[in-house]
């Protein structure tokens, strides 16, 4: 008899505070599993950002700091520079990373800070009640785009990974999703690689994960997965944007 799947030791015993079916939870598991499998928990300091994942400092089974909205990468930089041998990751939503925090994220990337960014893109501001995010899709109705996102008024959804692919300091960058077990396995590979690269001090690593927000999309959890695949992936294609080379063990 063998345990084929169980809760990761990378997560604490606290019940997650996410809504039913929210894939933030899946991403949490993957991060936890990677840290355990790489034996990194004792070295790791995670940065919880402001968003639904703000409470993630209660969930990841490692040292954690909670960062002001948008500033996770600055906080991570602060820590990494004084503790260069520890593993530092941020966990940020699209509002946190792509809107208020785009400057801090770009500059951490450009400096080649040796940190890992877990970027959970759900095309909306989950925590504050479903306002438009810079990643919201054209036509998407949100509480602050009641007539849908309009190109002329709001611009296109911002393509973070496409933009970051132009930045020299980025060592690894991939966009993945977690809508099926297969996608989840790929996502896990990406996250693991990002952490491994950080171990090897290769520079800035980021994994953009397309994620659902059933509650604020107003779509049932299972259907949310389909909505994501049908509407988000065409705008945010899954892709390996940058990989500075094979991992050498």
């Amino acid at each position: 008899m063998a345990v084929k799947y169980q809760k990761s030791a990378g997560l604490t015993d606290n019940a997650l505070t996410y809504c039913p079916g929210c894939t933030h939870g899946i991403v949490h598991k993957l991060v936890g599993e990677c840290l355990v499998e790489l034996g990194l928990l004792p070295d790791t300091i995670g940065i919880a950002s402001v968003g639904c994942s703000v409470f993630s400092y209660d969930f990841f089974n490692c040292d954690m700091q909670q960062a002001p909205h948008g500033r996770a990468c600055a906080v991570a930089t602060g820590i990494k520079r004084v503790l260069p041998d520890n593993i530092i990751f941020t966990y940020q939503g699209d509002g946190d990373l792509a809107s208020i925090g785009i400057a801090e994220t770009i500059h951490a990337a450009n400096r080649g800070e040796n940190i890992t960014v877990i970027f959970v893109n759900n095309a909306i501001y989950g925590m504050t009640g479903g306002q438009m995010a810079p990643t919201s899709l054209i036509g998407q109705k949100t509480t602050t785009s009641p007539f849908g996102r309009v190109l002329q008024q709001h611009g296109s959804p911002i393509k973070v990974s496409e933009m970051f692919a132009t930045i020299d300091g980025v060592a690894y960058l991939e966009r993945v999703t977690v809508t099926t077990p297969k996608h989840i396995r790929n996502a896990k590979k990406a996250i693991k690689k990002a952490f491994q690269y950080q171990q090897e001090k290769r520079g800035f690593t980021m994994v953009e994960i397309l994620s659902t927000c059933p509650v604020n999309w107003g779509i049932k959890p299972v259907d949310s997965l389909k909505w994501l695949e049908e509407h988000m992936i065409p705008v945010f294609p899954l892709k390996l944007f940058k990989d500075t080379g094979e991992f050498h063990e």
């Binding site: 084929k4 997560l11 079916g21 939870g25």
Partner: protein, 74 residues
């Protein structure tokens, strides 16, 4: 011969149905009556013997509710 066994940490289940949707052998369903303390209806198994221990359910579960065991060697 039964292959897999799954167990639930029910108090953490939120009834999102992701596990149900992804079980290839369709043995999971929501019990419309049974509720946990948080008020969520929980998930039950129709026929555990059909479980193939593929862990699709557990992989999809955002709340790490499900443990999957391979019992072929048991």
């Amino acid at each position: 011969m039964p292959k897999g066994r799954i167990t639930f940490e029910y108090e953490k289940c939120k009834g999102c149905l992701l596990c149900v949707a992804f079980c290839p052998v369709k043995i999971l369903y929501m019990d419309k009556v049974a509720m946990n303390k948080s008020g969520y209806n929980i998930i039950k198994v129709t026929d555990m013997d059909k479980c193939i221990a593929c862990a699709q359910c557990a992989t999809m579960c955002p709340d790490s509710v499900i443990t999957v065991e391979d019992i072929t060697n048991a």
